[in-house]
């Protein structure tokens, strides 16, 4: 793009938006932009049907396996004593962690006025909500009798018993249900103007009515916009501590126990950094194919890829630092159990393969992001994001399983082998997640249309002003 603009003469919003590479490359008229971004919601096709068939089949499979393990009991899993948490809690932590990038993008970057978030926030928030749904399945199943899952909630029961709020598990229930609810509210609020656009552009009466109901009569009145913007900002400000708290609370499940390898004060920041890191990887895993399939290169630009790659570098480095601290403290504390667990057992025990994979992948993947070539290449980023997802799953696996498998007394040590059911439920929830995500892509405007138009307006009006005043010397691109 050959464009020379003297940045001294432009508004700060403009300078931020076009800071190489620009966050929006298209200058298409607003009507055209709207039609383009709404198109996936209005027209299906054979490839959609195929995609729904595959992921829907996987979802059906998942629920069949879940039904089986509920009917037969969780003896069908590989869990044992002392490895009682195993796959279920590994998957729970992994899914919850993935959700964090969505909230980070939509909330933290909103209050920091990072406009590049606009084209990807809807998308990332949807990922959060669907990931939290997957996560919520596991602790409920892990109870063995999921029909009693509501006992964790403080409701006035006839038994006269209340949950014990000195335990981390009711904290967890409070944190995750709040996280899910607030994310859903935030997601829906953000979607309101776009649902109204979908209503007004709908090709059939049925779609017009359906979108109309969900748009709640939104019509973009300035009074409403005024309340709307402040509400979104408030939700962003509320979700910011929330995103830091949820995985902290999840980490308390581990940290407040006495188990060597878990009993550590580094856990909350360690979990939060890992969560945001893995979440950004998942955003990339989902976004890169979507960007290509729907040809959105002018709306999700290299700038977005680069920004996310940098986030991965930052959070990955924090994560690696916590690995180092964890290892150092296990020696420095002089606690022989801690030292044995973290240094001897993890690095040379039966789970050493997982630990070393984690240490290598989580070092190499983020550090590749130092190279601009990697940061701007969708293929590199896609491959790296998959590797990060794998590494982060293994990290939770070794953290949970390796620690549980060897506590204080060697006589109680026991190894863990997953069963077919364990693996099937995990693969099944991946299908379920993708199924929900496809539903979202198919029926909801998945890129924020009003925010994209707002950015376009900032860019176009500033460029027109520059052209008039003769500050810019634009050559044709």
């Amino acid at each position: 793009m050959a464009e020379t603009i003297d940045l001294r003469h432009v508004s700060p919003e403009y300078a931020k938006a076009v800071d190489e590479p620009s966050i929006l490359l298209t200058r298409a008229p607003e009507g055209e932009l709207t039609a383009r971004l709404l198109a996936p919601a209005f027209q299906g096709g054979p490839s959609w049907k195929l995609a729904f068939l595959i992921t829907g089949g996987g979802t059906l499979f998942a629920w069949t396996v879940i039904l089986y393990s509920v009917l037969a009991g969780i003896g069908t899993w590989g869990n044992n004593m002392p490895v009682a948490w195993a796959f279920a809690i590994t998957n729970f932590v992994w899914w919850i962690g993935i959700g964090h990038a969505g909230t980070f993008i939509s909330a933290v970057l909103l209050i920091l006025e990072q406009t590049w978030r606009n084209s990807i926030n809807r998308f990332a928030e949807a990922m959060t909500i669907f990931a939290v749904i997957q996560a919520a399945i596991y602790p409920a199943l892990h109870l063995g009798r999921p029909w009693f899952a509501y006992w964790i909630l403080p409701y006035p029961s006839t038994m006269g018993v209340w949950p014990n709020y000195r335990s981390a598990l009711p904290w967890d229930a409070a944190a995750i249900s709040t996280y899910f609810t607030v994310s859903l509210l935030f997601w829906y609020m953000g979607m309101l103007p776009d649902l109204a656009s979908a209503r007004d552009a709908a090709p059939t009466l049925l779609k017009r009515r359906l979108y109309g109901i969900f748009a709640m009569g939104w019509r973009g009145s300035s009074r409403n916009w005024r309340h709307y913007q402040i509400t979104c900002l408030l939700l962003g400000a509320l979700a910011t501590p929330l995103v830091l708290s949820v995985h902290s609370v999840v980490s308390f499940d581990f940290a407040i126990t006495q188990l060597p390898g878990w009993h550590s004060t580094i856990f909350p920041p360690y979990f939060v950094a890992g969560a945001i890191y893995s979440g950004f990887a998942m955003v990339l895993t989902l976004m890169i194919p979507v960007r290509r399939i729907f040809r959105l290169h002018d709306i999700i630009t290299t700038r977005h890829l680069e920004a996310m790659a940098k986030m991965i570098l930052v959070t990955g480095s924090v994560l690696y630092y916590t690995y180092a601290v964890e290892t150092f403290i296990s020696w420095y504390s002089g606690n022989e159990y801690e030292f044995y667990q973290i240094v001897v057992w993890r690095l040379s025990g039966p789970f050493a393969w997982a630990v070393w994979t984690v240490y290598v992948l989580n070092f190499v993947c983020p550090n590749l992001m130092w190279f601009k070539r990697v940061r701007t290449s969708p293929i590199w980023l896609f491959v790296i994001s998959i590797l990060i997802n794998v590494a982060m799953w293994l990290e939770r696996f070794e953290l949970i399983v390796a620690s549980l498998a060897s506590d204080f007394l060697p006589s109680s040590w026991r190894n863990f082998t997953p069963t077919f059911i364990d693996g099937s439920i995990f693969l099944g929830t991946i299908c379920f997640f993708l199924f929900l995500f496809l539903l979202f892509l198919r029926f909801v405007p998945f890129i924020s249309i009003s925010e994209t138009k707002e950015i376009r307006h900032i860019l176009v009006s500033e460029e027109e002003r520059l052209e008039r005043s003769g500050h810019a010397r634009r050559t044709d691109r």
């Binding site: 403080p154 209340w162 709020y165 709640m216 300035s222 709307y228 009003s450």
Partner: protein, 182 residues
């Protein structure tokens, strides 16, 4: 906006000119309809400050108080649990759930206040009957003048809006007898 004139503009800049022209003529009661928030227009309309943050704060205070007290009551009184001799009011242990309740209630406070102040949901409204209004969420900009404003003069307003570049100026349709628009 229930009754009055509505003008359609092709760009936010023209809409802003319309708003400023009306303001110069002494007209106050108006509202703009735009596909995305336009800073200049919101300022030119001189709308009062949104009170959503107040309700968010109230929600947060209520949630935090309720969240803390209910835990204290549950674990300290209703079903008092002595865990290793720790005090029944275990302040640090009650903080996580208190925080979550604060955030949850504050979020609901903000969202409900937003819907309340915006008058939503309102699936049917006279303004939807305006010709071409379906583009208000896509790529057209509307300025509605409230007929109840004492300074409202339809002919004068039509002239001012037209001079400011309106594509079309029309009345907000009123269909009588419909309970939806009551």
């Amino acid at each position: 906006m229930r009754a009055g004139l509505i003008a359609e503009y092709e760009s936010p800049e023209l809409l802003l000119e319309g708003v400023l022209a009306m303001r110069r003529s002494g007209f106050v009661q108006m509202d703009a309809y735009t596909p995305y928030p336009i800073h200049g227009v919101v300022e030119a309309l001189q709308l009062p400050r949104s009170r959503v943050p107040l309700y968010c704060l109230l929600g947060g205070i209520a949630g935090g108080t309720y969240g803390y007290l209910i835990q204290y009551w549950m674990n300290g009184f209703s079903y008092a649990l002595n865990v290793g001799g720790r005090p029944l009011g275990s302040v640090p242990a009650f903080i996580p759930a208190t925080f979550e309740a604060t955030v949850l209630f504050a979020a609901f406070g903000a969202v409900l206040a937003f819907f309340g102040f915006s008058g939503l949901p309102e699936i049917a409204s006279p303004v939807f009957g305006v010709e071409g209004f379906e583009r208000a969420t896509i790529d057209r900009y509307f300025l509605a003048l409230d007929a109840s404003d004492p300074a409202f003069d339809p002919d004068e307003a039509r002239r001012i809006l037209g001079d400011a570049g309106a594509v079309r100026v029309s009345w907000i349709p009123q269909d009588e007898g419909s309970e939806v628009h009551a």
